[in-house]
Amino acid sequence: MEAPAKEQPKEQPKEPHKLIVSIGPHMHDEENTAKIMWTVSGALLPAVLMSVYYFGIPALLVILVCLVTSLVSEAVVQRIMKRPVTLTDGSAFLTGLLLAMNLPSNAPLYIPVAGSFVAIVITKHLFGGLGYNIFNPALIGRAFVLISFPKLMTTFVPTTVMHVDAKTMATPLVLLKEEGMSKILEIYHTKIALYQDLFIGNRAGSLGETSVIALLLGAGFLLMKRYITWHIPIPFIATVGILSWLFGGKEGLMSGDAIFHMMSGGLVLGAFFMATDYVTGPSVRSAQIVFGICAGALTVLIRLKGGYPEGVMFAILLMNCFAPLLDRGMRSRVFGKVEAKGVKK
């Protein structure tokens, strides 16, 4: 054996370039984690604008405090854990923004600080950071402050365009739970007017949960970009509609107000922006449908039978626990796998 590669012929063209060597594929599509996170944040913009319109400067302050605390918490905790600081991937920004959407505008500003800290440091980074957290960070942040400051977290103000004298105002779901639909109609006059206000967002509630139209605009954009799919949100909302129609009425079965339930509380925000969180939900499509249906059923159960007027947050958090199990149990059949049993090798 002789003439190894080194004595390759002199007629070779000059070795022109240092070549890059790697395992394929050598092409990649346009998507990346940061682009997805920032796009989802962008899709919340209509809801953010509506919240500032309806709740004014206090809403803006809550949002800013959430964002700043989230970003600072992420940077500090990553520095302490000696990991690369990844603020530019947009995930901490998105968590902060989602948490803000889940807080009342009149909350004292230590609430967004505490919520963001719990969301980023405890829920996300102590569980391993992006991709490894079991629970939706923004929702754990909100659950923490809701349980720690129950009074402050359930006191809401009327929107700036409502002509009422009251300093505070209950959300439609609280009214329904405590006083019934007749009380709601006293405030909103007719069912149609009620639906309209729910749809546009002219009601008491957390910053980002009130305007259904603004949320749907963002959600539609994400669906179009295929950043989210229908598999979780549609079964989620449909289940809430069906079950609240079946069991939500005072006059027995099938007398509930499905439209009211589907547009109230944090359902639209939760179904399209929180339950669809990649990390904490299942990734197998069929498992996502089950996830959505179960979250919907839990939401109705809490709304109708639980101690809280609203159940979206706890429903999603409870389902987060089951996401890995659903993925494991419902993975799709490998191409040709079942047929393989009959084959003799």
Partner: protein, 444 residues
């Protein structure tokens, strides 16, 4: 042709849509590359046992001389692709990444065929076994890139009857157009090759599967097959990896090859269109496989082209003939960008399975690190085998190879769809290759 695609519904579930970039070369007629002054002919250009050299240093050889003899059933002989003198037998760079035993022939400039090539104008009188012998002697292997010895595929065990032969003209790999040009330029040879295949396997149904983005090839091939009602030209949907054997069988024959099994288990044999053309040349003219179509393409070469190339021609020569590398050239890939292998040197030779050389400029080469899996599920949707690449990646990243095996690691054929779509840029294919190697090591 006005339409850029024709209608086609047949496909498989999953897959991805990389930009095909075929416009760089699809319209360019194939030109013969210069006969190399020095051919590097690896003794192993196929899956299976490497061949044993039949020549010694200093020996004169003619074009078509057998210089490497099979060693075992799953093997294929290699032949001199130029006439000249054997100047070295030793380890030389090979596209698989390490040096491999090769025979070096310096050209005498005469380009003379070996004496006694056996022409058979009436090859239809030959028996299937005689035809198969000609295929074996010509050193024909799967030319789509897999390089599995063709005569082995043509020898299914008796208990596995074959009733369908599919020619693979899908060419789903981005950038490459060598099969496309071959179908446009040698349609009759391909169809005759298919008929020989059908005769060997005693099959009465033949298909030519072509992705719908090649309407001109579909038209030309349909014309060539017009007189043969047993052969259908079958457009399939444009989607990567449509040209993967199992995916093509699903799309055309509607049959699902069981996991861990071969196409012959569902009565199908798939061959690349280039292989069919080589079979025709071998049977009709007695010519061994010594040249093939190669697309030299990408925005890293100045004039992308389709070439007819002698086996053993170095990449450097072809790239020079394609105008040379641009200043921005950064990655040279043997094959296409999805499943091809990047090269560290341009000294490597074209072998029987080299369908193209793709040169990517710096701007198209991502050198990014990867991030954590965000469990978006894009890879699960993309996987044509319906695996969960995200989980495979997480297991293998932590060294849990056995767990990866439980999640059907072995069913992955490394098409790269998962890695192509991964927003966190996770190198799933690299991990899968690694896990398979580690598991094999443990077994031994």
């Amino acid at each position: 042709m006005e339409a850029t695609t024709v209608h086609a519904r047949d496909t498989f579930s999953g897959g991805v849509h990389p930009a095909d970039n075929k416009h760089l070369t699809a319209h360019k007629p194939t030109v013969a590359a210069a006969i190399p002054k020095r051919a590097i002919i690896p003794l192993s250009q196929h899956i299976g046992a490497p061949t044993k050299p039949l020549v010694v240093i200093g020996q004169e050889v003619k074009k078509g001389d057998k210089i490497g003899e099979t060693a075992g059933f799953v093997s294929a002989p290699v032949h001199a692709s130029i006439s000249g003198k054997v100047t070295a037998i030793g380890n030389f760079p090979h596209i698989l990444g390490s040096d491999m035993p090769s025979i070096i022939i310096e050209s005498d400039g005469k380009d003379e065929w070996v004496a006694g090539l056996k022409e058979t104008p009436d090859y239809n009188v030959l028996s299937p076994d005689e035809l198969k012998k000609l295929v074996l002697d010509a050193g024909i292997v799967g030319m789509g890139g897999a390089t599995f010895p063709t005569h082995v595929k043509l020898s299914p065990p008796k208990e596995k009857p074959i009733d369908v032969v599919i020619l693979n003209g899908a060419e789903c790999e981005p950038f490459l157009t060598s099969d496309h040009r071959l179908m446009l330029e040698r349609p009759n040879e391909i169809i005759e090759g298919l008929k020989i295949l059908m005769r060997i396997l005693n099959v009465s149904t033949g298909y030519v599967g072509i992705e719908a983005n090649k309407p001109d090839a579909i038209e030309v091939m349909s014309k060539a097959a017009a007189g043969s009602p047993e052969i259908k030209v079958w457009p399939v949907k444009v989607k990567y990896p449509q040209g993967a054997e199992k995916m093509l069988i699903k799309a055309i024959a509607g049959r699902t090859v069981p996991a861990g099994s071969l196409p012959m288990d569902v009565g199908v044999v798939v061959q690349n269109v280039g292989t069919a053309e080589a079979i025709y040349n071998a049977v009709r003219f007695g010519k061994p496989l010594i040249e093939r179509y190669v697309t030299v393409t990408g925005r890293g070469v100045k004039e992308p082209k389709n070439f007819l190339v002698r086996i053993g021609t170095q990449f450097s020569q072809l790239i020079e003939e394609a105008g040379g590398l641009t200043d921005e050239a950064a990655k040279v890939i043997a094959g296409g960008p999805m499943m091809g292998m990047s090269q560290y040197t341009l000294d490597v030779p074209v072998i029987k399975g080299t369908s193209g050389i793709t040169v990517l400029p710096k701007a198209e080469v991502g050198i990014k690190s990867y991030g954590p899996c965000i469990r978006c599920g894009r890879c699960i949707d993309a996987c044509p085998m319906k695996l969960q690449p995200s989980l495979l990646g997480l297991y293998i990243e932590k060294g849990h190879y056995e767990d990866a095996k439980d999640y059907n690691l072995m069913d992955c054929f490394e098409c790269g769809s998962c890695t192509f779509v991964c927003p966190a840029n996770r190198p799933m294919v690299q991990w899968v290759k690694k896990a398979k190697k580690e598991l094999a090591k443990k077994k031994n």
